[in-house]
Symmetry: C2
Amino acid sequence: METGRDLMEAVGERCGHCSGRSVSICNVIDDADLPALVAESSRVIVPSGRCFIEEGCAADHFYVLTGGRAKLFNLMVDGRRQIIGFAELGDFLGLASSDAYAFTAEALGDVTLCRFSHSSIERLVERFPRLRGRLQKEASSELVKMQSRLMLLGRKTARERLATFLIEQARPCCVYAEQWRNENGPMTLPLPMSRMDIADYLGLTIETVSRTFSLFKREGLISTKGASSVTLLALGNLADIANGLE
Amino acid sequence: METGRDLMEAVGERCGHCSGRSVSICNVIDDADLPALVAESSRVIVPSGRCFIEEGCAADHFYVLTGGRAKLFNLMVDGRRQIIGFAELGDFLGLASSDAYAFTAEALGDVTLCRFSHSSIERLVERFPRLRGRLQKEASSELVKMQSRLMLLGRKTARERLATFLIEQARPCCVYAEQWRNENGPMTLPLPMSRMDIADYLGLTIETVSRTFSLFKREGLISTKGASSVTLLALGNLADIANGLE
DNA sequence: CGATTGTTTGATATATATCAATAACCGTGG
DNA sequence: CCACGGTTATTGATATATATCAAACAATCG
């Protein structure tokens, strides 16, 4: 912890208190090893809307997201889409076991990435032994998150889904530093994704998402400024709704 | 591969061609090391209906399923249930990152398990280096399966969900040896889980599951003998339905 | 063999989807 | 800065897939 250093720092970005949606490797790299790490990687800048990982394509590289956010999704032949998750600062993408990517990743706004050749992972893990444990740990925490998403999609109502989503967005990583100081008061969140994205994440339609937003507004649980900024006014109540308590 | 030996064999059971729903460690143990492995483990027999892992409880042990099948699920406070998956021969259970189990595991029929202390995993991985790679690989393949479950629960119709489920059950591991020889012909599967279990796995109600079974029967896609045995008569069609092609 | 539990089928209700019309937002160019 | 056009979001009316409620039926087990 004390001697460690972020990969994010190694590639020029700072990591907050994020706990990585996918796989984060905070604090497993010693300062002395930074040059070696940087040598293995290349920086990539992806403009808004561009896909940098495509389902089914050869999984040549994996990425660490160092700026911006991305949506990860799967498609069915007829166009139905399920968003798997939203990647943020520090997340690992494209570490799938197989030789083809299992999902598509598209930049939500401009995104910066640190790219590694897929074959370099062996070298990296050998060189930075703590990295391995970290990868495992984060992979299994990712599995736990997936489990709660199954509950959300299989058993929760639209209200519960949106409340869950909003609570999820309220994690420190997603909120500006000044704002997550007083976690009890109102909390303003940016929502870089469209209503369509939220719908495809929650297994709903845009109309249902929109109506549920309006409902929450009428109930005084949230307020909005445009479609891409929410203020959570009653985190406790939202959490209760998210868990089916009211 | 050639020199390897199954953990399942080490604890007295044979592993078919299963590719492990959770985390399998087939073929990573050398014969010479078997005694050491057995020394670390203890056998457990769980009667039908008994929970051997409970969500929220201290994660002291992890298990390898060596006989029978189990259902893994999460509950909401009001009793809504989402089945995460059905564990089968060779699956690893309870390897969560945190110190509490993230789901409950209940025996579907009698189950035999090989139990390891959670603290022994470090020793095991050190002693059997190939185990580590295998664990990682299987964990990430588990993540891929989870992704397709998100699509199922978020975007598929009841028809598509049940077809997907039936196809899933038709993997070699679940079928008697004689039957998966001719993969093109009719394939008879045991369904050890109740309609309620299937419903909670697919995010539906028992009634909808039952009606969809009947529909498939009327369409000549399947036939049943009692509620716990299905014969798939048209795997291709079912696969098409599962993927939204008809 | 009856009693109990689980499954299937039927009738109806409802949450959410779909279709359709406004309304708000956003970038652009005057 | 404002007007404009296109996009995205909201709201409304209606349809529909699935849930819910209820009954008959089948399987299981003493």
